[in-house]
Amino acid sequence: MNGKYSSYLDNLIKKLSSLPGIGPKSASRLAFHILKMHPDEVTGLSRAITDLKENIRTCGVCGGISEGEVCGICVDPSRDRSMVCVVEDARDILIIESTGGFKGLYHSLNGLLSPLDGIGPEDLSITGLVERCRSGGVSEIILALNPTMEGDATSLYLARVIAGTGVRVTRIAHGLPVGADLEFADGATIAKSIEGRVSM
């Protein structure tokens, strides 16, 4: 006890609020909720967390998450091995996979170029990507990075590096979201949409 209810509670609140998106208030709400949960549920939750950490590692090929040496997507024979979609991190793979709209392979960079934060090309998984391009079988690299300054810089950098391998480099479209109204879009988005127009 350090002047509060309980050191156990304080400890959990502190641990929970170290997670992204969770402040001290949400952390205390979660902690009190856990306190009310059935002991089996609590054990299940804590086991799920340790299981995740113990059993998941980085895929040796794409850098995504994997239960073995190589992830399920990379070994799946039904995937189109000629297309590789490049993403910022493994979480983006999950997002694109959930759409079911892409049947190729992935490559996670584990970050974006950001000289201000001291992140240069050597800190990203770029060598691995170039090797995959050189090893043959890949005919197109799709850059699916966020349209931020760092994302744009990384895309330009990759395009230059991959150009040497002869593999085609494309990037995902930028502009109006599907179902959005022109009236509510901001100027920069509309300008990008016009720049990236397609013929019909």
Binding site: M149, A153, L156
Partner: protein
Amino acid sequence: MHVKELSLKNFRNYGSQEIEFTNAVNFFIGENGTGKTNIIEAISILSNIRSFRNTPDSEIIKWGESGYYCSLQAGECENKKFEVGCLYQNDGLKKKIKIDGREVSNSSEYYGKLLTVFFSPSDISIIYGPPEARRRFIDSAISKIDSGYIATLLDFKKVLANRNSILRNIREKKKSDDGQLDVWDGLFTEKASVIIGKRKAFIERYASVFTESYKKIMTGTGHPYIKYEPSIESADRDYIFNRLFRARRSDIYRGTTGQGPQRDEYLIMNENGRIFNHFASQGQKRIASISLKISENEIIEEDTGQKSILLIDDIFSELDEKRRGNMIEFLNKGNQIIFTMVNSNFTGLINFNNHRNFFVEPGGIIKRQ
């Protein structure tokens, strides 16, 4: 457009204050330090999100309170209600901006929605201050008529900071990194080209309006003009990229980018082609600074077809009666005007119909008369 009603909570010296304006001329009269300027500061924050005083939000909050809130009801404006709130929360000061009840976060969503032009005694520093003061002024004027400009400018600043960081890195490690520089130079070129092009186009229109405004207030002969002197003369992308490329070695040596929009200058010259500031009197500088603002307003009104709200903070003291009269005549074109002044004698000098006087007393008490 005009302000119908302003509401302040824990803003500077005001605990809770509501003010109803007339859509013509409003005078706030009071002694020094009573909080007259705070009223127009609030309106300018609602219009530009940032204080013209360049003070952090933490200093705007009334002493001993945990946040401030201000809102205004607008008339003859596409949007009806503007709100800005700032509150200390667990992890620092949080600012919220709402237009018609909808929260906005993107600068291009609020810039130019509530049009205000602010005249302040410190405007004179645009005339004699460093080039940065003129760049900031012109950039803000362009942003009010071109919502995409501010976004490009912010992107450019980011690119510049990253490029400088690479330059310093190369200098320290003594290892070249052309691969990365090429990429950031490409982005620099793209943004700089847009900025230079827009600055050029703006000054082309603005320069003649500025000289005309000065003439009307000052009368007589000898009128200044404003000239854009870009650090890279052309907005052509290949040209910009080559200039950067050629300067790479010296940029690495200095650890900073020596050319580009961040080094642009706007020169204010007198009729003999010499720097205006070096030869002008204090009164002439004052009139030039007022003319800069009046011209900004003319261009905004021309482009948007809307009348902006003029916020005028005690700028009469340096003008003689004739110039004061010229200026008032020039401003009296149906805009809502909000004046602050120490001396109520001035209100009598000014021939406005439908004006409202507010007397501001120590402790932030406003009495309407």
